[in-house]
């Protein structure tokens, strides 16, 4: 958080300097008149999102846009603690039945009131199996989910049509009260509601889902101005009917869509775009020099991992997987490839997650070539070609994979190492289908700051490594049903210890997001959980 404070301090300093220079102008310029003008728009660099329906996307590019268009029930404040936004309160006596009070007086961009039903409708649509929306599995612990997602009968590919399209666990008590019944106690529920997948949707969304996907109507401080122009632009404007706690300080945001972040960074340098939240790590030190105060480093929840195909018998032994983990010099890779901007990790969760322990992994994640080699020999070594899998989305993947390959060659004596560079559109499908026969790059972008989000999503049932541990699943289940968040943490940590002892996937490093902005905008308050586009003012 110190980084954030510095950024804010910089903004204050900048405005103070501006005020000074205005005084020194001796009346020749008219800064007062300018600041009295109507607010102006600014632009944000973006990569093409997949969808703009909140229930149907987990892409971070979509979330960047949805965060401006929607107010979720809860948000995670800069301190990492949940704060109420669209909700007035979220309470439960048993962690199983939750009562959500919705703040009255909120409106959608089309004038419709935001009620308990708006949330219930949106959640039912996402949980309804035949819709096949991305965030479907986030509703798996709401009662009635099974009815909406019946399994295909034996010997058939096709699942039968559900009998109902409503989750029985959602009960609209009155327009401002929603009662949610979960299948089991889940202490992380309020934090989970901060995820954009739980945003409300108006009636119009259900009538024309396809049209809604390119022109979503939300309840946030910005509203769409025209339709999403694919691969080009998403234009938004200030929503004047907004009654929430964060009205927009600018006239609107233009999300300019770039093919990759390198191009976007070039445009930021050229002053063609006002805000870029993902400066390529390789350009970090250059950006620091060029942007000065306008460079912002934000601790992130994103983690990179090296996964092992535990279903492949050559990688079935935990000792071999640990030996590979110990043969990787994380600090040196971070320094060489990412200019030291990322943080080497010895834990499965990011530092900003409650329950983070800096040395959870201990020896198994500490670079020690001699011990690694001894363990490798003890485990029987490795025969054949070691294929390393990664996608072609970013050149830095190949750079750090090259470093990993060199270290495995040098430290473990694995001679035959090859790269399998998969087109980024096919990469996740390859991993899910378990087509990889060697270590692979795996990555997790945090949805909400809870160890459950990492552990259950990446090591839980049907994980990409093909790792199976009933004990782990049981620990997660017990942690989820713990009476309080505090009580759940030790159980999650036990589960983490188990996943580290078996090492189906080795933690590598934690991302620090590098953002930069133009001289045109001020009050940039990006934190780990939100870019806070509403606070930005345009000169």
């Amino acid at each position: 958080m110190t980084v954030l404070m510095r950024a804010q301090g910089a903004a204050v300093l900048l405005s103070a300097l501006l005020a000074l220079s205005a005084c020194g102008g001796g009346g020749s310029s008219t800064p007062g008149g300018q600041s009295g003008d109507a607010p102006k728009r600014f632009s944000v660099a973006l990569t093409e999102p997949d969808h703009l329906t909140p229930g149907n996307t987990s892409s971070s590019y979509s979330i960047a846009v949805l965060g401006a268009l929607f107010d979720t029930l809860v948000v995670i404040g800069p301190d990492g603690k949940p704060q109420m936004r669209a909700a007035e309160s979220i309470t439960s006596d048993d962690q199983k039945v939750w009562t959500i009070k919705i703040r009255p007086g909120q409106k959608f961009h089309n004038g419709e009131a935001v009620t308990a039903e708006s949330f219930a409708d949106a959640w039912n649509a996402a949980a309804y199996g035949p819709n096949a929306w991305t965030n479907n599995y986030y509703f798996a612990n709401v009662e009635g989910y099974d009815k909406l997602n019946p399994e295909a009968p034996e010997g058939s590919e096709e699942a039968p049509k559900p009998e109902t399209d409503k989750l029985s666990g959602l009960n609209v008590v009155d327009p401002t009260t929603l009662e949610v019944t979960l299948t089991a106690p889940f202490s992380q529920f309020p934090i989970m509601l901060a995820y954009t997948g739980f945003a409300p949707m108006p009636k119009a969304a259900l009538q024309d889902p396809a049209g809604y996907d390119t022109a979503p109507i939300g309840n946030g401080p910005f509203m769409l101005d025209g339709r999403w122009e694919r691969n080009k632009l998403i234009k938004t404007k200030r929503f004047d009917g907004y009654a929430g706690p964060r009205p927009a300080k600018s006239a609107g945001v233009n999300f300019k869509i770039y093919a990759n972040r390198e191009t976007a960074y070039t445009d930021l340098r050229a002053g063609n775009v006002d805000l870029l939240q993902t400066i390529p790590p390789a350009s970090t030190s250059e950006a620091k020099t060029l942007l000065g105060d306008r460079f912002v480093s934000i601790p992130g929840g994103t983690m990179d991992y090296l996964g092992f195909p535990a279903y492949d018998k050559r990688f079935a032994g935990a000792d071999l997987r640990k030996a590979i983990s110990m043969a990787i010099d994380r600090q040196a890779i971070v320094d060489a490839v990412f200019n030291g901007a990322f943080k080497p990790m010895s834990s499965l969760v990011a530092p900003l997650v409650p329950g983070y322990r800096a040395t959870a992994c201990g020896e198994s994640c500490t670079y020690d070539p001699a011990k690694a080699k001894a363990l490798y020999d003890e485990a029987g070594g490795f025969t054949g070609t070691l294929n390393l899998y990664f996608s072609n989305a970013d050149p830095s993947y190949e750079q750090w994979m090259t470093a990993v390959a060199n270290q495995l060659k040098q430290n473990l004596g694995i001679a035959d190492i090859k790269f399998r560079k998969i087109p980024s559109a096919d990469y996740l499908a390859t991993l899910r289908a378990h087509k990889q026969d060697g270590p692979f790059r795996n990555n997790w972008v945090m949805d909400y700051p809870s160890p459950q989000n990492y552990l259950e999503s990446m090591w839980g049932a049907e994980n990409r490594m093909g790792w199976k541990s009933p004990e782990f699943l049981d620990l997660i289940k017990r942690a989820n049903s713990a009476p309080t968040m505090e009580a759940s943490i030790p159980l999650y940590q036990k589960a983490e210890d188990l996943a580290l002892a078996e090492m189906p996937m080795a933690p590598l490093w934690n991302w620090q997001d590098q953002a930069g902005h133009s001289e045109k905008i001020t009050n940039v308050r990006i934190d780990a959980y939100s870019p806070n586009l509403d606070t930005i003012t345009v000169k």
Binding site: P280, A282, S283, S285, E286, D329, A332, I333, D335, A336, V337, N392, P395, S396, E398, Q399, T402, A403, A405, N406, Q407, K409, Q410, I417, K418, F419, K421
Partner: protein, 297 residues
């Protein structure tokens, strides 16, 4: 052209007074020739025997990631690359891929050009029309775009796949020139004489036309080596060419791309070697053209 024709009446290639002997006589008086020959000799020696040139062992060995991107210093003439390998050693090893591909592509393209140019130019008619149209089709494919499409469609390519792609996209200019040369020589008196003496088509093409038509194509081929090396480096740089564990100058430039503002040595050294080698071939081609063109004598 008459001079060229008569010179080849006695087809003993290196005999005193022949075109090739004259060319050699001409060449050895040129400073540029010796300069380019020296550059190329070093480059080819590096490609053939990288060991003695490189301070350290084989490619991707003896790297210490903690030395990543360090500038030139004692014990490391060129500093270290992104992966912490001795940059001098890496650059020496990078010569092989570039020069091998440059020469192999040119030799294959030259062979295609000779065969197709001879057939088309000599026989004319439908054979010529067919060959010319095929040549036009390939000539119309833009190099970078065509190569990118092919290489992206067939990933996992090594040196020989790259060679194939570059040959497919690079044989047309030489073929066109060869055909034009053959057509010019075909109508000459000594060809008619050979035909009247009962020589077969093959004999006429190989013994009489080829030696008199090849010189300009040979010059173009020499210039082409440099262009192919530059083209291969371009594809590597764009990330569609060679891949780890291959080492090449293009790959080194690609890796340097993100870091060169702060670590200029990453960009400078492979560029120097690449430029020198390409320039060496271009200069050699240039002086060879001067030497082989009888009108300049």
């Amino acid at each position: 052209m008459l001079d060229l024709g008569t010179a080849a009446q006695a087809p003993a290639p290196a005999a005193r007074g022949s075109l090739w002997w004259d060319a050699w006589y001409e060449l050895r008086r040129r400073v540029v020739f010796w300069l380019s020959a020296a550059i190329l000799l070093i480059a080819v020696a590096m490609a053939l025997f990288p060991g003695p040139f490189a301070a350290l062992g084989g490619p991707q060995r003896g790297c210490d990631l903690r030395m990543s991107k360090r500038p030139p210093q004692e014990g490391a003439l060129f500093g270290y690359d992104l992966q912490g390998c001795d940059y001098w050693s890496q650059i020496v090893h990078g010569a092989r891929a570039s020069i091998l591909i440059g020469l192999a592509v040119t030799i294959f393209a030259l062979l295609i050009a000779i065969v197709l140019g001879l057939l088309g130019g000599y026989f004319g008619g439908w054979a010529d029309a067919l060959i010319s149209r095929i040549t036009d089709v390939f000539f119309g494919i833009p190099f970078v775009l065509g190569a990118t499409v092919i290489l992206v469609a067939f990933p996992g390519h090594g040196v020989w796949a790259m060679t194939l792609v570059l040959v497919v996209l690079g044989w047309t200019t030489m073929t066109r020139l060869m055909r034009a040369q053959v057509i010019a020589v075909r109508g000459m008196d000594f060809v008619a004489a050979a035909r009247m003496l009962g020589a077969s088509h093959l004999r006429i093409m190989v013994k009489h036309i080829l030696p008199n038509a090849i010189a300009p194509v040979f010059v173009l081929a020499m210039l082409n080596v440099g262009n192919v090396i530059a083209g291969e480096a371009t594809l590597d740089y764009l990330g569609v060419g060679l891949q780890y564990p291959e080492v090449s100058w293009g790959l080194q430039l690609n890796a340097a791309r993100s870091f060169f503002t702060e670590h200029p040595h990453l960009l400078i050294f492979p560029s120097l070697f690449l430029t020198a080698t390409v320039l060496g071939f271009l200069m050699l081609g240039d002086v060879a053209r001067d030497a082989l063109d009888p009108r300049l004598h």
